[in-house]
């Protein structure tokens, strides 16, 4: 049998561990990375020439980051690594790529999609102003470019990342004006029995909060966002919110980082025609996979936050498991003990994930309260009122229908940032469960593709 062609999309924790596992079995995978260097988002490496230490870049995760980068460096000659390459489409057993302005296609026998996650966002009036960033973007600015999104930054949303990024900013010397969490504190206490599944992470989280408080940073829980105010020529000037006690407060700031956990970048899985399932707790759809990462489509495997947002440590485990599943399905000998151990670890991460989701819930109710003139889809500048008109006047209940009528999710980001919130707006307006509203179907290209792009064959000609 010819050498199997195995392609991994992503070089974050899941992709790197998958590659490592395959290499250990004597396979040379192709690793497609949208980034310029390995590490993914969480362990993003600084550009060449930057000289910051691991401790200053990754804080409490420095050890893991360093280990991940060393592992990758050791693999470098034994994999076909293609950085700055976008996997933009899938057709049958072929992955379509874009590198710069050159398109190409690779055939695969097995495809491991480790595409990672991006921020899950709930709009707030004024979130389309200059100076408002997603939590992930705020982190990229720091890690990659050693710059902050503003001089005085408010972090608003919910989830562990809220505290982590705020702490990273504080440590880097930026002024953190406040951390505003929509989740009430008591939910954290209630979720303790699940959160204790990973005592180390729980302690890290507590220490982080404590450190922020000791640094004199204001932390508010159970808040309700009201508005991000500012002027077009200046951008963000203040943020207004309601405290858990119902008092309206205003905080001066020049930038806001916004985010409510993460959502999987599942477009490739969708384009590969993988099945999706609805997760009632987090009110979103995830691609279906078995315990080892097999999707519903033969030959397509899913690992890491691109399939289910369990975090970076779990992504390493899921990456290994997916690679072992690939090897096993190709008829290679795989150690059952190793698989069982990895599965066990993944189950612990899953329990912890449920705890986090319970402690920091997605603020679904905020969608119903969005003012008519609040922008939902930033790319196409579609307001909540316009989206609701597609529902109440034109009868759209399913999200792709509402998209067709209103243009919501039709812009550059293809609904990656507004899709979840739009679904909640529609569900509330139509009075149906968000599950019935569905999810925006992915359509190639996964990211914008330049018309000037030429194929390998054309360039050779």
């Amino acid at each position: 049998m010819a050498e199997p062609r195995i392609v991994i999309v992503g070089a974050g924790p899941a992709g790197v561990r998958a590659a490592e596992t395959l290499v250990a079995s004597g396979v040379r995978p192709i690793v497609i990375d949208e980034g310029g260097r390995d590490g993914g988002q969480i362990y993003r490496r600084q550009p060449e020439g930057f000289r910051r230490s691991y401790a200053s870049l990754y804080g409490s995760e420095a050890g893991r980051a360093e280990d991940m980068h060393r592992s990758f460096d050791a693999l470098r000659d034994r994999i076909d690594y293609r950085p700055e390459t976008l996997a933009w489409g899938i057709w049958e057993k072929q992955l379509h790529l874009l590198q710069g302005s050159r398109t190409s296609a690779v055939d695969f026998d097995a495809l491991i999609i480790a595409s990672g996650a991006t921020d899950r966002l709930m709009p707030v009036r004024g979130w389309n102003r200059a100076g408002v960033y997603s939590m992930g973007a705020a982190q990229i600015a720091l890690k990659s470019q050693a710059t902050a999104i503003g001089k005085r930054v408010v972090f608003m949303g919910s989830g562990p990342l809220l505290y982590l990024v705020a702490a990273q900013y504080s440590k880097a010397g930026a002024e953190v004006a406040a951390v505003l969490d929509t989740s009430p504190f008591h939910l954290r206490v209630k979720a303790l029995p699940q959160l204790i599944a990973r005592p180390d992470v729980l302690l890290k989280g507590l220490a982080l909060t404590l450190k922020l408080r000791r640094g004199g940073i204001e932390i508010q829980t159970g808040i309700t966002p009201v508005e991000i105010e500012g002027r077009p020529e200046i951008g963000v000037e203040t943020i207004r919110f309601r405290t858990s006690k119902g008092k309206v407060r205003t905080i001066a700031c020049d930038a806001v980082a916004l985010g409510y956990h993460l959502r999987p970048e599942a477009q490739l899985a969708d384009l590969a025609r993988c099945e999706f399932r609805f997760d009632a707790q987090t009110r979103q759809f995830f691609p279906v996979k078995d315990a080892d990462g097999r999707s519903s489509v033969a030959g397509v495997y899913l690992a890491g936050d691109g399939a289910l947002t369990l975090g970076a440590d779990a992504a390493e485990v899921a990456g290994r498991l997916a690679a072992l599943a690939v090897l096993s399905d190709l008829g290679r000998q795989v150690a059952g003990v190793q698989v069982a151990r990895l599965r066990r670890r993944l189950r612990i991460f899953e329990r912890f994930r449920r705890g986090i989701a319970a402690a920091f819930p997605w603020p679904a109710g905020a969608a119903a309260a969005l003012g008519e003139d609040t922008v939902v889809c930033r790319c196409e500048n579609i307001t909540a009122g316009e989206l609701r008109a597609a529902v109440s006047d034109n009868g759209a209940v399913e999200i792709n229908r509402a998209k067709a009528f209103s243009r919501v999710g039709m812009g550059r980001c293809q609904g990656r940032y507004c899709g979840h919130a739009a679904a909640e707006v529609i569900a509330a307006c139509a009075g149906v469960p968000v599950e019935a509203v569905g999810r925006i179907r992915a359509q190639a290209p996964v990211k914008p593709l330049i018309i000037g792009a030429e194929s390998d064959a054309e360039q050779a000609a």
Partner: protein, 383 residues
């Protein structure tokens, strides 16, 4: 279960069906419109959005002219215009041999009331400076234009419902027969609908219904390959196409007022009527991009943000099935528009309503009669 009764059952809620239901109602008929999914979701909703007459099969021009007149009155008729813009439509050619083809077409089209302006390389450059150097001649149709397919059929559907048409979405008809004086249509969930007249406007699924009346047609389904770019300032007014004998050179594009450029053309993709899905094939995009660069080089720096497809139905002679049944009285067809039905939609609805209401129509549609396939079938049997 007691069947629901009306004067006419329309099966298929695409642009043809919704428009026919709307115009039948205006003629005082009671109408039941049955749609298996949602109104305007299939070919009517995913096509390019061309409101183009030039280049059509010449005997189809009277129908296209009638439709164009309705496009211009959409706002008045429906309360919304489905973003119809009479921006003009221009076709250019690259091959000197094609110049004769477009000149001959322009001459004949005049007899059908369609005036086209012919442009040589210089006038093309002067009037439309954005074309690439390979474009050597063109034919401009000033009163053609484009509209938004996502909005048109739903707008007709809503207007029909407002004026009293009983619209049933998510209603799949699994059998239709005419046991007595009335047609009986039975939905998958057992609901029954009855009327003395039935109109089949079921697009790609039309053949499955005509077969139930022993009038099979050789229908094939394909998926057009559509794409759209990010928005840019609104500059390209006319709809643009290529006149060519080489299939892979076919590309067409239009800029919407919002600024995005919609394009399509080239090889078609697979479509699956059973699962109601058609796919944009990533491998087809490369040729489309190459042809776009050739046609309007300045677009090379724009980015494509989305591709899509939909289920379109084609007949071997590239013209639709339209008119009364050859076998069953009270039965009418309008389906299989071979990828060029969007412009015709409102006119088809109006003509079918007239035909059903008056027993005849002022607009010639004889070439589209379903009997042409019965003749073919008989011929192939005797041969």
């Amino acid at each position: 279960m007691k069947p629901m009764q009306a004067d006419v059952i329309v099966i298929g809620g695409g642009l043809m069906g919704t428009a026919a239901a709307f115009f039948l109602r205006r003629r005082g008929r009671s109408v039941i419109l049955l749609e298996r999914g949602l109104v305007g979701q299939q070919a009517s909703g995913v096509n390019f959005g061309n409101v183009r007459r030039q280049g059509r099969f010449l005997p189809q021009l009277p129908l296209a002219n009638r439709s164009r007149e309705i496009w211009g009155r959409l706002k008045e008729l429906l309360g919304e215009d489905a973003e119809f813009l009479a921006t003009g439509h221009i076709r250019v050619c690259y091959d000197p041999r094609q110049i004769g083809v477009i000149e001959a077409y322009a001459q004949k089209a005049r007899d059908y009331g369609l005036d086209l302006e012919l442009l040589n390389a210089n006038s093309l450059k002067a009037r439309f400076g954005f074309f690439g150097p390979e474009a050597i001649a063109g034919s401009y149709s000033p009163n053609d234009g484009h509209a938004n397919p996502r909005l048109a059929a739903p707008a007709f559907g809503r207007a029909a419902a407002r004026t009293g048409v009983a619209v049933f979405e998510n209603t799949e008809i699994i059998s239709i027969a005419k046991p007595g004086d009335d047609f009986q249509a039975i939905a998958a969930d057992g609901r029954m609908f009855s009327a003395p007249i039935a109109l089949v406007t079921a697009g790609a699924w039309g053949g499955a219904l005509s077969r139930q009346f022993e009038e099979p047609v050789p229908i094939a389904v394909h998926g057009p390959q559509m794409a759209v770019t990010e928005p840019l300032p609104y500059r390209l007014k006319p709809v643009i196409g290529v006149s060519t004998a080489i299939p892979q050179e076919v590309v067409y594009l239009r800029q919407v007022e919002r600024g995005n450029i919609v394009f399509g053309g080239g090889a078609r993709g697979p479509a699956f009527a059973d699962i109601r899905r058609a796919y944009a094939v990533p491998g087809h995009l490369g040729n489309q991009l190459r042809q776009i660069r050739r046609l309007v080089p300045a677009l090379a720096n724009m980015r494509v943000i989305r591709t899509w497809s939909g289920i379109e139905s084609y007949l071997p002679d590239d013209i639709p099935v339209m008119g009364p049944s050859a076998r069953v009285s009270g039965l009418y067809y309008a389906f299989g528009f071979c990828g060029h039905g969007f412009q015709l939609g409102p006119g088809v609805g109006d003509v079918m309503a007239e035909l059903i209401d008056r027993g005849s129509t002022m607009t010639p549609i004889e070439p589209f009669h379903i009997k042409r396939f019965a003749v073919e079938a008989a011929r192939s049997v005797s041969a």
